[in-house]
């Protein structure tokens, strides 16, 4: 009897659970609703295979940068310089590849290292000199943009070698060749099979995890929610996979993005470094007094952001097939907005990778849908701004109600 008091009953009532986690389910629901809305408003163009492919290509770099930005924001900081890093890396890669004729297998890792150095240069001032990140990265934003103009001498450079372009315009080839692409509806079986396998794996590992939790007395989310979530995500994934397979298959960027999302989800939920970033963002002094090297952690968060911004910079350059000094202007705002729409807290300590990813896709679908509808850039910005405000208000409102 006395021993058993420590294991709590994992049966949380469904409505209680919903109330506590309304943010996460609400976000997923919002994405689905927005997708359906634009599917309707665009007369079915949104879900056309070619447009889905475009959607992925257009948003991949925002998602990739949002992964790093989420860590920065959770750590209690901000990075305004990512748009300029994107432009600078795009320019440098163009100079190396086009002007100097270096091979891309050398250029890509080199550019990632330069990105890391740019992040480190800013992280140093934030972490060790205690200058507010807003100021440091504002300076970085100007400095890196200026350097881009200097490096490119104000002119665009292009076009890129074919292999480099494949980074963002390439597709995973259909090495299965189950049917003749000319006649069959499904032109790329690899895409379809990969998506089906992923969904099956997600359901299997989710079930396994629930079973393990039950054995250890760790509470599970109610089965209804688990099932509904799996159903929605599975259905959407299979539908999108099917659409992609009728066109050219899985874009390379989608695969890169998927791997990064999985990696950063793992880091934030399971790695000690992720846990420490959350603790630091929640209460830096307490984290420091618990023996956490908060300076080093902050420094690495910025290095990481630099690497991801560099990757994004190359993807964008490859996609546009030219490096221009104006590339990436204003991207930092989209990336930051994605994190906040995804539920990150501006005061640090709170935020999820999956939230930032969904936030980025909400922004992406709105951009894409409104462009198809022919809504001008003026109204697009207005609407996006209101959505950001509404999403954050929803958070604040929920928090107030909870207290």
């Amino acid at each position: 009897m006395a021993i058993e008091t420590s294991t709590e009953t994992p049966n949380v009532s469904v409505s209680d659970y919903l109330r506590k986690n309304i943010r996460e389910y609400g976000l997923l629901l919002a994405l689905v609703v927005i997708m359906l809305l634009f599917q309707f408003l665009t007369g079915g163009v949104l879900f056309k295979p070619v447009n889905i492919t475009n959607l992925v290509l257009q948003n991949s770099f925002i998602v990739i940068m949002a992964l790093g930005m989420l860590l920065i924001i959770v750590a209690g900081h901000i990075d305004l310089s990512v748009g300029s890093i994107v432009a600078f890396i795009g320019g440098i890669s163009a100079i190396m590849l086009v002007k100097w004729g270096w091979h891309f297998s050398l250029v890509v890792p080199l550019c990632l290292m330069i990105g890391a150095a740019m992040g480190a240069a800013q992280g140093y001032w934030v972490a060790y000199q205690k200058i507010p990140s807003f100021i440091v990265t504002l300076a970085g934003m100007l400095v890196f943009r200026g350097l881009t103009y200097v490096a490119l001498e104000g002119r665009p450079i292009g076009p890129f070698p074919k292999e480099f372009q494949l980074l963002s315009t390439g597709f995973i080839p259909d090495f299965l060749s189950l049917s003749d692409p000319a006649t069959s509806l499904i032109k790329n079986y690899v895409a379809l099979i990969a998506v089906l396998a992923l969904v099956a794996w997600a359901i299997y590992s989710g079930m396994k995890n629930r079973r393990l939790n039950e054995q250890h007395g760790t509470p599970n989310e109610p089965f209804v929610f688990f099932a509904a979530q799996m159903l929605v995500i599975g259905a959407v994934a299979i539908f999108l996979g099917f659409q992609l397979s009728t066109y050219r298959g899985l874009p390379n960027v989608l695969v890169v993005m998927g791997i990064l999302i999985a990696f950063y989800t793992f880091v934030t939920t399971r790695a000690t470094i992720g846990r420490r970033i959350y603790a630091m963002g929640g209460n830096e002094k307490a984290a420091k007094l618990s023996g956490i090297n908060t300076e080093r952690l902050t420094f690495y968060a910025f290095v990481n952001m630099g690497v991801l911004a560099a990757l994004a910079g190359m993807i964008i350059a490859a996609r546009l097939n030219s490096a221009t000094p104006k590339a990436g202007v204003g991207f930092e705002l989209d990336v930051i907005a994605a994190c906040f729409i995804g539920g990150a807290s501006a005061s640090g300590g709170v935020g999820k990778i999956i939230g930032a990813v969904i936030g980025a896709f909400i922004m992406g679908v709105m951009n894409n849908g409104m462009s198809i509808m022919g809504i001008g850039i003026d109204y697009q910005q207005l609407i996006k701004g209101l959505v950001l405000l509404a999403a954050v208000f929803f958070d604040v409102y929920n928090k107030k109600k909870a207290v």
Binding site: G217, N283, L289, S290
Partner: protein, 511 residues
């Protein structure tokens, strides 16, 4: 009586769960210096906050008579209008503004929103002369010392036509010369007919200036002593301050004391912010296995600073001295090193320094020793949950589950979570800084029980507390600190509230 300027009648003020003031009565005569004394938490500051309107009239019971009329203040502005001015221990000056700007902040000499600088400077000059300060009105506050800052505060009070000046521990952070200057100034003002109330722990100073002394204890008035009759000794005052019966609030313990674990030698530390001011002087102490050692002292004596400077040099500057564990010198230069050496520091400020409030119990429990539940940088969630559940049941943390956020726990349970965190690092010596502050009696008893268990397991406990009965009830040996020095070491038999207070007061006179 005609010469009574202030009378507070049966003031009762309750906070959730605590009666801070219980029917306190307090009379001040016109033109006198009235001292208010009592232990930490006796209710002095609360009483002054009631008087100055920090706590509006609707939040307490009782009456305030000022100038023979009943007054009900709902804001500080109401009391200031009558000339009741309070100068807090934490000075309320803006460091980067000038003396003149500070004196007239919020009360500027201006017409239509435009400041009249010549008039401001002239008036400031007048006020500064009154308080005996020779600095220019345009000097920045940050460029003058604490003693002068205190005088600026008084000048600011004078600018508001002060009739009753309240000083909350005005000399706590002053050296002897500055303290004397301040006290002399108060006596000057008395000659001019001004009334003041001074809150202080320094009994020698009080005896020097006070006309009457009112003693508070546990939220009640004990007595008011008149200094013009027979000589009042410090012992007499101390007896009034501490004279309460020890209750049976502490679980019994059979100490089994072993070898020396932690020893600190010649520990000298300079102030974290005022870098040329030495704060701790030659602190020496030791903690043995199975021993509960207390550090007594008043606020600002340097107890927390001693603990934090030892724990990874997380407070202070220019730290010198030696720390040994089991007789061998250890490096405590960073917090991870201090933890590695076998130390743990449970902070007095659990909300700001102890817990990540937005994280759950489990995450807080493992924060200082994540390696123990992870392999190659990845956390084993089930192992972590088991650790957290074990501590939750061992320390009887009351919560829905280990997944409850720390922010939603009561003070006592939050404290237990902080304790869990440090116990999980498996320290040899635990430094507990005010471990029972702000928690209820039941939870206190549980914390004492935990302390006893830890000592029985052979750990060394160093306990800092401002509650003397708590130290007397739990410790095997007590060090007394005052003004950055260890001024006495008392065995369990020697230690009493009187002997501790006496050690503090005596040392205060020496320096």
């Amino acid at each position: 009586m005609d010469n009574i300027i202030l009378e507070m009648r049966s003031i009762t003020k309750t906070f959730p769960g605590v009666k801070a003031l219980d029917s306190v009565s307090f009379k001040v005569r016109k033109g006198e210096i009235h001292a208010l004394v009592g232990e930490n938490g006796a209710g002095k500051s609360t009483l002054m906050k009631v008087l100055s309107g920090v706590y509006p009239a609707s939040t307490y019971e009782g009456e305030i008579h000022f100038d023979g009329e009943v007054r009900r203040f709902s804001t500080i502005a109401d009391s200031e209008e009558l000339g009741i001015i309070i100068i807090h221990q934490e000075l309320a000056l803006v460091p980067l503004l000038s003396i003149a700007e500070n004196i007239f902040l919020g009360n500027e000499i201006a017409s239509n929103g435009v400041i009249n600088w010549p008039a401001t400077f002239a008036r400031t000059q007048e006020l500064l002369t009154k308080v005996g300060l020779k600095d220019s009105p345009s000097t920045l506050i940050t460029d003058i010392g604490v003693g002068k800052q205190q005088l600026v505060e008084i000048a600011k009070a004078l600018s508001k036509k002060v009739r009753l000046l309240i000083l909350d521990e005005p000399t706590a952070s002053l050296n002897e010369t500055d303290s004397d200057a301040l006290l002399n100034l108060l006596m000057e003002f008395r000659k001019l007919g001004m009334t003041s109330i001074i809150i202080s722990h320094k009994l020698n100073e009080i005896r020097k200036v006070a006309d009457q002394i009112t003693i508070l204890r546990d939220g009640g008035t004990v007595e008011t002593l008149d200094c013009h009759g027979a000589e009042i000794s410090e012992d007499r005052i101390i007896r009034g301050m501490v004279g309460r019966a020890m209750e049976d609030r502490y679980p019994p313990r059979e100490p089994k004391i072993g070898e020396t674990l932690l020893e600190v030698k010649n520990w000298n530390v300079f102030h974290q912010n005022h870098r040329d001011r030495q704060f701790l002087y030659d602190v020496n102490f030791k903690v043995r296995a199975g021993e509960v050692v207390g550090i007594a002292g008043l606020m600002g004596a340097g107890r927390t600073e001693t603990a934090m400077s030892i724990f990874g040099k997380s407070w202070g500057h220019k730290i010198t001295g030696e720390v040994t564990m089991h007789g061998r010198p250890v490096d405590v230069g960073t917090i991870p090193k201090a933890i590695y050496a076998g130390l743990a520091y449970v902070t007095e400020d659990r909300k700001h320094l102890g817990l990540v409030l937005s994280n759950n119990i489990m995450h807080n429990t493992t924060l200082a020793n994540l390696e123990a539940v992870s392999a190659r940088g990845f956390i084993d969630e089930r192992k972590e949950a088991k650790v957290a559940s074990d501590y939750r049941s061992k320390l009887r943390i009351r919560s829905h589950s280990i997944y409850q956020e720390a922010v939603n726990l009561s003070g006592g349970n939050q404290q237990k979570v902080v304790l869990s965190k440090w116990l999980f690092t498996d320290p040899e010596v635990l430094i507990l800084d005010e471990p029972t502050r702000g928690i209820d009696v039941g939870a206190k008893f549980e914390i004492y029980t935990i302390i006893n268990q830890l000592a029985a397991e052979g750990k060394g406990i160093l306990m800092i507390s401002s509650e003397m009965p708590e130290l007397l009830g739990t410790c095997d040996r007590i060090y007394v600190m005052n003004e950055g020095r260890i001024v006495a070491e008392l065995s369990k038999d020697e230690a009493s509230q009187e002997s501790i207070m006496r050690a503090i007061m005596r040392s205060g006179e020496k320096h």
